[in-house]
Symmetry: C2
Subunit: 236 residues, 2 copies
């Protein structure tokens, strides 16, 4: 682990166990640098990560403060699903029901999002993910067969992300997401076990490899009464 990660972790610990009171600023950067025997830039880097996590708040000329709401941590769920469900819900029992699995030519929309032409085939997968026996999400995913090869029913019953990383040796680095409310459809009623007039929280996502190439275009549909999406925004 890097110095700045180690320091961020330690400061986070001190915030949570109230070694640092939320009434006063935490120690200034120069003191922290001397305590941890690192340069001030490294302290700054460590605190940067805590600021972006929403735990700290800096005020030039004044100090670095603990965000008051740190203590009521949200219960939410849908936040880093892009690492793959298998990763996010580690330790829970995850099952997948394959609703559709075929290869097709991409629609114009799919081709545009995956940055491929209309003649490059894509996998089309619809899966219901079941967590601890409860229907969790319906995922509709498109992946270029050329880039993401070797998808089988067996892979689909496990983790596609693991297959991409470990079998194909590719690195997933980022995703662009669009979140919307949607009317529920027959598929939702049947598999998410939701009411006919229940809405659905849909997350549209394009996932990118470290090469900058998109590897998946997907739509994840969640029950409106069980899932929310959370973010921290910071004005600069």
């Amino acid at each position: 682990m890097n110095k700045y990660e180690r320091i961020a972790q330690e400061v986070k610990k001190r915030i949570i166990d109230k070694t640092y009171s939320s009434d006063d600023p935490i120690p200034d950067e120069i003191s922290l640098a001397s305590e941890f025997r690192v340069s001030r830039m490294t302290i700054k880097r460590a605190l940067d990560t805590l600021v972006s996590e929403g735990l700290l708040n800096r005020k030039r000329g004044h100090g670095t403060f603990i965000v008051k709401s740190v203590y009521n941590v949200p219960v939410n769920v849908v936040v880093n699903e892009m690492l793959g469900l298998t990763n996010v819900l580690r330790g829970k029992e995850i099952k997948s029901k394959i609703i559709a699995f075929d290869v097709q030519f991409p629609s114009e929309e799919v081709a545009a999002h995956l940055f491929i032409d209309a003649n490059s085939p894509v996998y089309h997968v619809v899966r219901l993910r079941i967590v601890e026996g409860e229907p969790y999400v319906i995922e509709r995913t498109y992946m270029p067969t050329k880039l993401i090869s070797g998808i089988t029913e067996q892979v689909l019953h496990g983790s596609v992300y693991k297959h991409i990383k470990e079998e194909l040796g590719l690195n997933i680095v980022s995703s662009h997401r669009t979140i919307r409310a949607s009317k529920s459809t027959e598929l939702d009623w049947e598999y998410l076990d939701c009411g006919v007039d229940d809405p659905v929280l849909e997350i549209e996502q394009v996932g990118y490899l470290d090469t900058g190439i998109p590897f998946e275009y997907s739509f994840s549909r969640h029950r409106y009464d069980k899932f929310v999406f959370t973010t921290v925004n910071r004005i600069r």
Copy 2:
């Protein structure tokens, strides 16, 4: 403007006008440092901002690449509404219809989110924001009267954020948001002019001042067929 902001802007320009081809890496950090006559750390800082905007992608030992999807920029809307609608939609005609405006004791939920006790009064405001003649969003907002004083109908017809900044001299720095799909209610049918079985995209938000103190707790409800929320995620 700082050096790193200026450089980020210039590099962004070169990406968009294709001075840098998306097939090759952009120039390495040492070359950029020498071109802009700054240190490598400053280049790094400039590129950091473009990486977090989703335009660039770094690969250690290899180079810095343009994310292919840069060229199809999304049309979306709900992304930085926290700066206040008046700010985000600058130049457009924004009207506000005040549906409710009163002072009340906070519910347990409101008190907890605003970090106040049950005896501290809060403003309770429900506004319909109308942009270019179209209903845009219904906002239900709670603000502690002690912290955010001087709210009047006149302020509510303009920008509350402007009031907070310019009249009260407070600095808004961040917000925590929860996004969900919700069933529409009578209020939505009436004011958002949506169908009885249309869902609504709701954003729950706690806004923070630079002191770390929450100043508003709000719920913004948008038509599901006109609004989406977008984010960029990056795995570290």
